[in-house]
Subunit: 215 residues, 2 copies
Amino acid sequence: MADQPAQPAEHATSASAMRRGPRGGAEDVKAAIFAAARACFARDGYQATTIKAIAAKAGVDTKLVHYYFGTKQALFGTLISQVFTDFGLLQDLFIAARSGRPGGAIYVRQILTLLDTTPEGQVFIGLIRSVGTHAESEQIMLAFVADVLERIVGPQVTPEVEFRSSLVGSQMLGLVFTRYILKNPVMMEASIDDLAEAVGPTLDRYLSAALGLPD
Amino acid sequence: MADQPAQPAEHATSASAMRRGPRGGAEDVKAAIFAAARACFARDGYQATTIKAIAAKAGVDTKLVHYYFGTKQALFGTLISQVFTDFGLLQDLFIAARSGRPGGAIYVRQILTLLDTTPEGQVFIGLIRSVGTHAESEQIMLAFVADVLERIVGPQVTPEVEFRSSLVGSQMLGLVFTRYILKNPVMMEASIDDLAEAVGPTLDRYLSAALGLPD
């Protein structure tokens, strides 16, 4: 019941929208919209994707997309956080760090494999590409970082965890940037294994070593 | 004499251009153009700066700017490589690595101070900002990386040195990106000292540790 529309009055009148939605309850409708959004963003990138195109692909009215997910920016933010946490990547890295095991190399391997082989990978690269010159992309990226961290760590993110994970983020962003956007030949041609071996211990150190922490 | 124009015939006829140049030899003219370019790029950024504006500031004909430095892209590339090597930053890091001393923290401190406090720092940040969406900036950045490496290491840059320095570049680029472009609050608010302590050992390891090297 928690996933039922919170303001049914507005949408009870939008019977045509509900009729145009897939059969089933709110969860099915949301899942259909989410799958459509994932496909559209992966195919067309953030800027070229419209709510109208997502609604058409999901076979629902655009109002339903807005109703469940808000603006395009909010939908996209929800989607990339969800994809990222679905893959379980950062969780494993944090768990490894907590138990004193090195998890960095596995993490680098998983991220680069995601970027090299999945449509969502292209969406992430497109997002990073736009951050420097597109204020909305910058906002999405910042919200994404904060959202993923909260999903994994919980609402009580300490300044220490924020600093350590920002250091991890800085290295991963730089790695992705040099390999996929700047297209530095050495970084493009290096194998995922070589990069994972080289960069993994950096992440382990950022998460576990004694560091001077900001006040 | 090596710095005399290599094709004097073309420019001997451009007497008006020479008259409009500052007094003194080719070196003085080049230095005046270079100082003007530095000031213009620092004030207006790469994309808004024109050869005409640089020539006007240097008090010379635009033809002389093209004659000595080629296109705007080439002039800008020469300038940022020169600024970077003038500061002596990467050289010191390489020298430290060769003699087994940690140089990473000093390097991070110097780069962040350069970016925080000098007009040239703003030009670098502007360049990195544009790389993702402006093909010319991408080319400039790639040429800059290769040029700086060759200035420091000499023409015989081995694949190992390229890989190690690309790893250093990936971390530094990511650090600059998260602090100045994405404006991650934690990275913006962290002191230069905290960042230098945290990131410095990463650079030392990339330059000196045993790494799996690409074939």
